[in-house]
């Protein structure tokens, strides 16, 4: 019919390879983030002010940490719906250890992370050994962790008055001690530190290699002599540990463990991972993408708020952006 259409890029192997490369996919997500930042800074001079930028960074920290962990799970082709309430449960346990058992600060933090890792370990065993689908297994854990958070906290928030240094984990500023005019909260450093660790794990270790292999072709991975069950369990355990870390950071930020806060966080984290270009069908994804995805979400929320867009509309826009991001990725892949 129309012979003037642009030649399909499939006739151009060079362009095809470029479009399909991981670098391009990361670049596109990054470009989207930059465009958002430029757009909001043109609309409001308040957007790029120091205090607002720190606000965005801080707002990204918890969601970003959760998203880092679930990136591994999603790359294996799985899903973890429990990270939100496991985060809350870990925060509660951290508080119980610190305020009731009066353990040293470091142990309280490790206890929180360990609680998350334990929940993840149980998820992993149920999924890989008992062959319960990840959606169901982690949906179950979502309820279990929510219930346990309420039980261990006696249905009330636990405040860290007896552990005054706890708040410093998130709200203190190591940077500010050296450069007082840049008092970036520690929560932001923890996010970037966690991202660096996650990135090394995913792209430089056997653990990361098998994470991709599991999502790419689980049977081939098994035939290659990889102990698929053990490594898959480890992936869920790592995801749980990140949720535990998220719980500690969250609790320190609020200076309290809020047992009822958590449900819904898993979906925000999954949205960040997906916006960052990690495919829900498994086998591809990156830590850099997830971090960009988490920032796209918080920049969007913050920018719309500064533009005085009502909160209910912010949520609508976030949903639309999520679907748009995935749609653009599908177009890119078809090209």
């Amino acid at each position: 019919m129309d012979i003037s259409v642009a030649p399909s890029s499939s006739q151009n192997p060079w362009l095809r390879t470029l479009l399909h490369s991981d670098a391009t996919r990361r670049l596109l997500a990054f470009a989207a983030l930059i465009i958002l930042i430029i757009f909001f800074s043109l609309r409001s001079e308040a957007f790029l002010r120091y205090n607002n930028v720190v606000g965005i960074l801080l707002a990204t920290s918890v969601n970003g940490i959760l998203a880092l962990g679930v990136t591994f799970v999603i790359i294996t082709g799985g899903i973890d719906l429990s990270i939100g309430t496991v985060m809350a449960f870990s925060a509660v346990m951290s508080a119980v250890f610190l305020t009731e058992w009066n353990v040293p600060l470091a142990l309280g933090v490790l206890g929180g992370i360990g609680t998350g890792a334990l929940a993840g370990l149980i998820n992993g065993i149920i999924i890989s050994r008992m062959r319960v689908p990840p959606f169901i297994a982690t949906l179950g854990m979502m309820y279990v962790a929510k219930g346990l958070a309420l039980i261990f906290s006696d249905l009330r928030p636990i405040y860290f008055y007896e552990a005054p240094q706890f708040r410093e984990i998130s709200m203190g500023s190591v940077v500010g001690r050296f450069i007082p005019e840049y008092d970036i909260p520690n929560a932001v450093l923890i996010l970037f530190g966690a991202a660096i660790i996650a990135s090394i794990l995913l792209s430089r270790t056997v653990f990361g290699r098998y994470t991709f292999a599991l999502g790419s072709n689980e049977e081939a991975t098994r035939l290659s002599g990889v102990n698929v069950k053990t490594w898959k369990t480890a992936v869920y355990m790592i995801c749980g540990a990140f949720a535990g870390l998220g719980g500690v950071v969250m609790a320190a930020r609020l200076n309290s463990a809020q047992p009822a806060l958590g449900q819904g966080y898993e979906l925000d984290a999954i949205a960040a991972v997906v916006i960052g270009g990690t495919s829900l069908s498994g086998g591809e994804g990156s830590i850099m993408g997830t971090i960009i995805g988490a920032f796209v979400m918080s920049v969007l929320t913050n920018g719309l708020r500064i533009m005085s867009v009502p909160q209910e509309w912010q949520i609508v826009v976030t949903g639309a952006i999520l679907v748009l991001a995935v749609y653009l990725d599908i177009i890119r892949r078809r090209a």
Binding site: V206, R209, F212, A213, S216, R222, S224
Partner: protein, 259 residues
């Protein structure tokens, strides 16, 4: 084969049942050093099931496996690989989202140690260099070792699967339909490779539907029909027609022997 020579692989009365179906029914087989054994039969004859018991995918319900003269229990694919049994599966068993080098080393990655061995990372450079050498040796061109398997042609994928098996200096090579996805030139290369393995004294079990390939490279042909071994012939002493008769069940040596 001289009687004095010890078989590399010997299986005795292997049985594998799936529910009510007996996929492999009391099959015995021996493979000697430097020998290429063709394993043929119609779809569902039990060839793949038989070799999957040797490569650790399935556990036999009955029977014994001997490797290099010793009884062995192959309960996982890694057990077989550790013994030196390499298998190229019909569907190639490659991870499509990983690159050629990652696939060649999948399950046996080379690592670098940091901080006195506390942290171990992948030695990507070593694995890529080794993979490149290996592919050049096989005379197969791949754009880059970092190209994902999904972006390679059928022949290139096959070459990666073969390279993966070759790298580890197998003591026994099992190939399930290795020429399936290939063009004529590439088919010739695979057959040359099988001959080269034989000259290096590495035995090969070749499963194939292509009679031409089977007659071109094998020393012996084992025919299976409905889970049973119905014939074992020296390649030089049989013909396409005779093998086909065994494959379709028109002839059956096992039954003749039992009578």
């Amino acid at each position: 084969m001289s009687a004095a020579m010890e078989p590399i692989l010997q299986v005795e009365n292997l049985v594998k049942r799936f529910g009510g179906l007996t996929a492999v029914d009391h099959v015995s087989l021996a493979v000697y050093p430097g020998e290429v054994v063709g394993l043929v039969g119609d779809n569902g004859a039990g060839k793949s099931t038989l070799i999957k018991m040797v490569s650790g995918v399935y556990q036999p319900n009955e029977g014994a496996i001997y490797f290099a003269g010793r009884p062995v229990n192959i309960s996982r694919p890694s057990d077989a690989r550790d013994m030196g049994i390499e298998t190229i599966y019909q569907d190639l068993a490659l991870a499509g989202n990983l690159d050629a080098s990652a696939n060649i080393f999948l399950g046996r990655e080379r690592k670098k140690s940091w901080l006195g061995g506390i942290v171990r990372t992948l030695d990507e450079k070593l694995m890529i260099d080794e993979s490149r050498t290996l592919m050049e040796h096989l005379d197969v061109k791949i754009p880059t070792m970092q190209a994902k398997i999904d972006n390679l042609s059928g022949g290139q994928r096959q070459a990666v699967a073969i390279a993966r098996a070759l790298y580890w200096h197998a003591k026994l090579m099992i190939m399930d339909e290795p020429t399936n996805n290939l063009g004529v030139v590439e088919q010739g290369k695979v057959l040359d490779l099988i001959r080269r393995l034989r000259s290096q004294n590495v035995p090969v079990i070749l499963i194939s539907h292509t009679m031409h390939d089977v007659f071109a490279v094998t020393d012996r042909i084992v025919v299976m029909h409905r889970g049973r071994k119905v014939a074992e012939k020296r390649t030089a002493e049989t013909s396409h027609e005779e093998i086909v008769q065994y494959m379709v069940g028109a002839k059956d040596d096992s039954r003749a022997a039992a009578d």
